[in-house]
């Protein structure tokens, strides 16, 4: 899939990257959005989808997942190319000054500019300590298609919002749902935990996965009650490991950017020290920086507009008012 060209690549589909994608579309740039996770939303979706956010301008109180949904709708108006579930890995400068960006999937894109809305770095699911050999053979980190669980005995592992939400969503389709968590206390939203306890799901705590077994695909799980040490064997043909995420800047540390304490130094145009590469959101650093969604939104607009005039010096930095659009 090489030879693809866009005006701008946004690295990161967190709130700031999504807004940058909208802004690039508004300026008429062809845009691709890359994220290591299969779902957009960055920290908001991965760490606190159910929390109420009170300090985004114009939205007196909005749940994380709803803010993400709105941002996605706004960005989608200009149909950017979504390249999710893959990370921005390497850059090569071409003779004409453009950048060849290679993703971990092998996909290559040629672009004039990049906005790094990389937040705290590439999110990776925390691995299940046992049964790694069944990854993709019954064991998954994300539920992307509920139908794939139809008729299965599903084991969900974890105590956060993702684990509880997925356990609830899977019940109507799965043959059975068991949820285990290594602690008695859940970190998921209280109302969802209450709903889980009222549901038909079997909930067991403090339990961990001791071993998985099967043939080509997972068939059985041995669970350990960490309080008593007792082992319990159950049938399960699908495992969803929702143990949270870890993040680090990973590949971006090799791009020649100036990085201090895991943040990328930018100037007042949101330019990094590498020509054509801008940054916005939690990942940036400059005197007076505050890491908030509202600040990141402003930086996204700055980065995209400055990238736009860098590509066409005769153009105006000011984008015009969105109200002027029919």
């Amino acid at each position: 899939m090489s030879g693809d060209e866009v005006d701008l690549v946004v690295v990161g589909a967190g709130p700031v990257g999504l807004y940058a994608a909208y802004y690039a579309g508004f300026r008429g740039m062809t845009t691709a959005v890359v994220d290591s996770l299969p779902e957009p939303g960055g920290q908001v979706a991965a760490l606190y989808p159910e929390k109420l956010i009170h300090d985004v301008a114009g939205l007196p109180g909005i749940r994380g997942r709803e803010l993400v949904r709105n941002l996605l709708q706004q960005a989608s108006a200009y149909s950017p190319r979504w390249l999710l579930g893959q990370s921005a890995d390497e850059i090569t400068r071409l003779d004409d000054g453009r950048i060849l960006l290679r993703l971990t999937s092998g996909t290559e894109i040629v672009t004039r500019s990049i906005v790094l809305a990389a937040g705290i770095g590439t999110f990776k699911p925390r691995p299940l300590p046992v049964g790694a050999e069944f990854l993709g053979r019954g064991v998954d980190y994300f539920v992307t298609d509920l139908d794939a669980y139809a008729g299965h005995d599903v084991l969900v592992v974890g105590g956060g919002d993702s684990a509880v939400d997925w356990a609830l969503a899977l019940q109507p389709v799965a043959r059975s749902v068991t949820l285990i968590h290594r602690r008695d206390r859940f970190t998921a939203h209280e109302a969802s935990v209450a709903e889980l306890h009222r549901s038909d799901a079997l909930v067991r705590t403090p339990f961990v996965v001791h071993a998985l077994s099967g043939d080509r695909s997972v068939r059985r799980a041995i669970l350990r009650d960490t309080a008593s040490g007792e082992l319990h064997e159950i049938d399960c043909s699908r495992v969803v490991a929702a143990l949270g995420f870890t993040a680090d800047l990973g590949p971006l540390t090799r791009w020649g950017l100036r990085i201090v304490d895991r943040h990328i130094i930018v100037d007042s145009t949101m330019s990094t020290e590498v020509p054509g590469i801008y940054a916005a959101g939690d990942v940036t650093e400059y005197p007076g920086k505050v890491r908030l969604i509202s600040v990141g939104f402003g930086e996204a607009a700055l980065a995209v507009n400055n990238a736009y005039v860098a590509g066409d010096p005769s153009a105006s930095l000011f984008p015009g008012h969105s109200t002027a659009i029919a």
Binding site: L47, R126, T187, G244, T246, D248, D261, R262, D282
Partner: protein, 109 residues
């Protein structure tokens, strides 16, 4: 400076917090854990799981907690016994491993 570890962690070192931290910024000292103030993203995931309620926030900072907040900072910014420079921001606790030393207040507690 968002979250920090108080003296309630001394000689407990349960480490449930490490399993929750998305940015690997909770470091193990000789007798307690320490949160790196420059690496912490203020998510609070660790606070919710500590079995001895040793994790506190400076929003707001209470007087009894102030020395522990400062000690937590000192772990990274001062030169610990047996070292010739501050830990600073190592960029991940798992890469560094256990540090066989404590900040002054923890060491003399």
């Amino acid at each position: 400076m968002p979250f920090f570890v108080t003296g309630a962690c001394l000689d407990v070192l349960d480490k449930s917090c490490i399993e929750e931290c998305p940015v690997d910024c909770i470091y193990e000292g000789g007798r307690k854990m320490y949160i790196n103030p420059r690496e912490c993203i203020d998510c609070g995931a660790c606070e919710a799981v500590c079995p001895v309620t040793a994790i506190a926030s400076d929003l707001p900072l209470t007087e009894p907690n102030r020395p522990w907040r400062d000690d937590n900072v000192a772990f990274f910014e001062s030169v610990l016994p047996g070292r010739d420079q501050p830990l600073g921001s190592p960029g991940g606790a798992s890469g560094l491993g256990r540090v066989e030393a404590d900040a002054p207040l923890a060491a003399m507690s």
